[in-house]
Symmetry: C3
């Protein structure tokens, strides 16, 4: 593959996605053949924030390839690393590891790490910014069980305002043909303006609706997400809305026989337990697909070997005003800018720069 780090799923071309998917499919069908593919390779897991699911998925992916894993995995361990810059931590870990998997509460942290790492870096979540391997898991599940992503009618339901998985999924689906989006959310949790602008710019077909039941019969995929009570400004609005977005066995009666229910997990109560035994409930299968997709990714990246990095400029003042941007915390980072559409953005966290 032509890429060295996976920071943002949007950086992949459709061809690269297909290459990963084809390999993933072969791994699912002939898992035993891949048992020694990463033998002798070591994955360094830097979880500056707690994570169970994503961490387990990456760990078992590497173990199933015959590689091994080390790292830290809770806030206290990372606070022992405190006082040390992200740069030094990455330099140190890239002396020991063949690939680095990092989750960090700061937006843009994965991009920052990639500047200093002598081995490939995979973003396992950088604050509210990106979580590209969740998108990889989502697309893999659809492709595997529906046969194609082109032409899919997908309902995305829940908190569309705050969910990074949702934004990432929409951006990724934009690479495919004839996708129809049903965006199902209460008005106060609708998709942010910049996502709407992106969809219009890309000429994507989408409909924003507030009710799940009217659109359910049209969907090939229903992607459920969690609504947190505290996201509502008006508590009464929460009380009025909460039942609407709970998927039950009864609501499923009107769905297509081969519709697929997905959820990034963990669920709280947005899918009732009686749905689990329905063959359309694919969310646990989706977790398994995520492991195989990560295997396909790691197989390539972990074997790329060490490469010295190029020296970069030493920054002094961050360009970006996003208080959660990694450049606010690690002031030595070089001031990098990129263009998203027509506007200048921070190359770490993608926030628009004011000038």
């Amino acid at each position: 593959m032509s890429f060295r780090h996976l920071i943002d799923f949007g950086d992949l071309t459709r061809g690269e996605w297909e290459e990963i998917y084809n390999r993933c499919q072969d791994i699912m069908d002939h898992t035993k053949d891949y048992m020694d593919v990463c033998k002798g390779m070591i994955q360094g897991n830097l979880f500056f924030e707690p994570s169970t699911r994503t961490k387990f998925s990456f760990q078992t992916a590497m173990l199933r390839l015959g590689g091994s894993v080390f790292g830290f995995d809770d806030p206290k361990s990372s606070s022992t690393a405190k006082g040390e810059s992200l740069k030094d931590t990455i330099k140190m870990v890239s002396a020991y590891a063949d690939v680095i998997v990092m989750r960090n509460p700061k937006e843009g942290a994965a991009k920052a790490a990639s500047l200093y790492s002598e081995v490939p870096v995979i973003n396992a979540g950088d604050g509210g910014h990106m979580h590209p391997t969740q998108t990889l898991a989502d697309l893999t599940t659809v492709q595997r069980f529906r046969g194609a992503i082109d032409g899919v009618s997908i309902g995305i339901c829940g908190d569309l305002k705050n969910g990074r998985t949702v934004h990432s999924l929409i951006k990724a689906l934009a690479k495919f043909e004839n996708v129809r989006f049903y965006l199902i959310a209460p008005r106060e949790l609708a998709i942010p303006d910049y996502v709407r602008a992106f969809m219009q710019e890309q000429h994507l077909w989408f409909a924003e609706v507030t009710g799940l039941e009217p659109v359910i019969p049209r969907l090939d995929v229903l992607y459920m997400t969690r609504i947190q009570r505290e996201r509502f400004i008006d508590p009464l609005a929460y009380e009025r809305n909460k039942g609407i977005y709970v998927l039950t066995k009864r609501k499923l009666e009107r769905a297509k026989k081969d519709m697929m229910v997905l959820h990034p997990l963990p669920r709280v109560d947005e899918i009732t337990l009686d749905v689990d035994d329905d063959p359309r409930a694919m969310y646990f299968e989706q977790a398994r697909c995520g492991m195989y997709a990560r295997m396909a990714l790691l197989m390539d990246l972990a074997r790329q070997g060490h490469r010295k990095t190029e020296p970069v400029e030493i920054g002094t003042n961050p360009l970006c005003e996003n208080p959660n941007c990694i450049t606010q915390a690690e002031r030595y980072l070089p001031p990098l800018v990129k263009k998203n559409g027509g506007s200048l953005c921070c190359a770490y966290c993608d926030s628009q720069l004011t000038d």
Copy 2:
């Protein structure tokens, strides 16, 4: 073997025990031959409660079979899993793992997990209920170093009221012939009524005594356990009793030359340090036997593969009134009942049901 999960040692037939033991013996004698037996297999360790010894034993057992291990191992990690039901955690982990090892503070949690897991579940302790692999370690040590369990005279000394290892051991020994039990405990820490009833029902030979020294010459095995000061209602009774149950080198003088001293560990001060160098002190050897016994168990269970589970009823109100029963915490569990002797019991925690 005919079983898929190990929830309760009592579920094993004597034939199944012998099958495990014979394999265990072969592993002890030819460890290197087993180095790749679980290659490519992954054990998921879910320790909802801290544990050092049991966790290490399971980890190293799997590693010595060429498999690998992931999981969480302290209360904080499990609280990150909080908000998620046990069912969902098990579904998720069984997507990644080939076998699940679980310790959980709730009684019956292992049984509950087995309903939803697509891979075998091993109970590594469910509250005060069961700890079957400790019993496996105990029996393995006796069989290995005495040659047979039938006909053994065993003294069980210490807190016989509260110790789950003790109750489990007594139930397991009931499967063998001509076992003689010397139950050595202060009156206030004697075995519970239901255990005494069980022993009478099974026509087991047993004697309840308060002193260790008078019976020590008759024993083939002395199983020491810890007495916690706080278990005594009357602090004076503790002061009167404490020395009686401390095994010293001097007390060992009157024991048989080939008596075996066992202890589930950790010890506090119930065995003095000068006993450690006596060849009869087998408690550290017992830890090693536990690892080999777990290897024998894992070899079978981890290789059974994934199996879809059957849908189960969705519960609403727990039948069981035991406040530590898993059904009190996870209300969706199906209401399952079993018969122990003549009475109806909760199929999770074995508490007797009132009607």
Copy 3:
């Protein structure tokens, strides 16, 4: 090799060091050949104190040899082990492991562990006492990149009073020929009297200076360490001194073109970031050398197999008055004495005994 445990680098002969180094060099040059050398071997990591760097280095060293790793790694986990003596913890872990790596806040803890362990023990830091594998990493880096240690002119800069790495490094370098030491420190953080006495006794060439810049042109190796503000009695002295001991790109201009900058890491601000891209900055390379050196060590120790330990005397009162000595915490340890130079010392923590 003739040694079973690595407690103190000073215990190694020069021949043993060379044997380790030659193997290390071969591992660096032909890493893949060593991929299965410890297959089936298990390393038990007992970190009674948090550590990121040392722990990662040992973990990845074992993993790269094809072995595996278990253990605990934070103070809470070790507090769950609380109530259990170090002896019992070591007995238990040596039933499961092939080699033990231990960090412990008490001085002499590694020596104590070696008395009871049935497998080799490696000291990964025992309080302020010893950290022999850091010294191993340091020497390996110098030997590898300079070609020889004999004849080196080394500047050691920073807090020379409190740094255990520094004392250990000086003792180790005393085994080589014609080493010239420039000891660069503020007066209040100069080397302790006993180190100065040791250097005189050994007829080592050394100069104590307070400024870095005047001596920098003479150095082949500059070993930087961290100065902690709180070490200064007089805060004004800190303010006066702090800039002097910061290595900058500008100060490097006067250094030899092939001088080597080392640092045990983590750094705080004693080396500015603009030094990192200078080819003389070898501190991240030093971390990698540490991993390879540990591989060379583990290869030998992990494969020595289990050996029953000899019974030792049961102590009652510690001989040593050092409040951080392990004998103060674990009272059963045998009272062991050794001679350092002419004086009687505690065989655990090396403190001089008063009589």
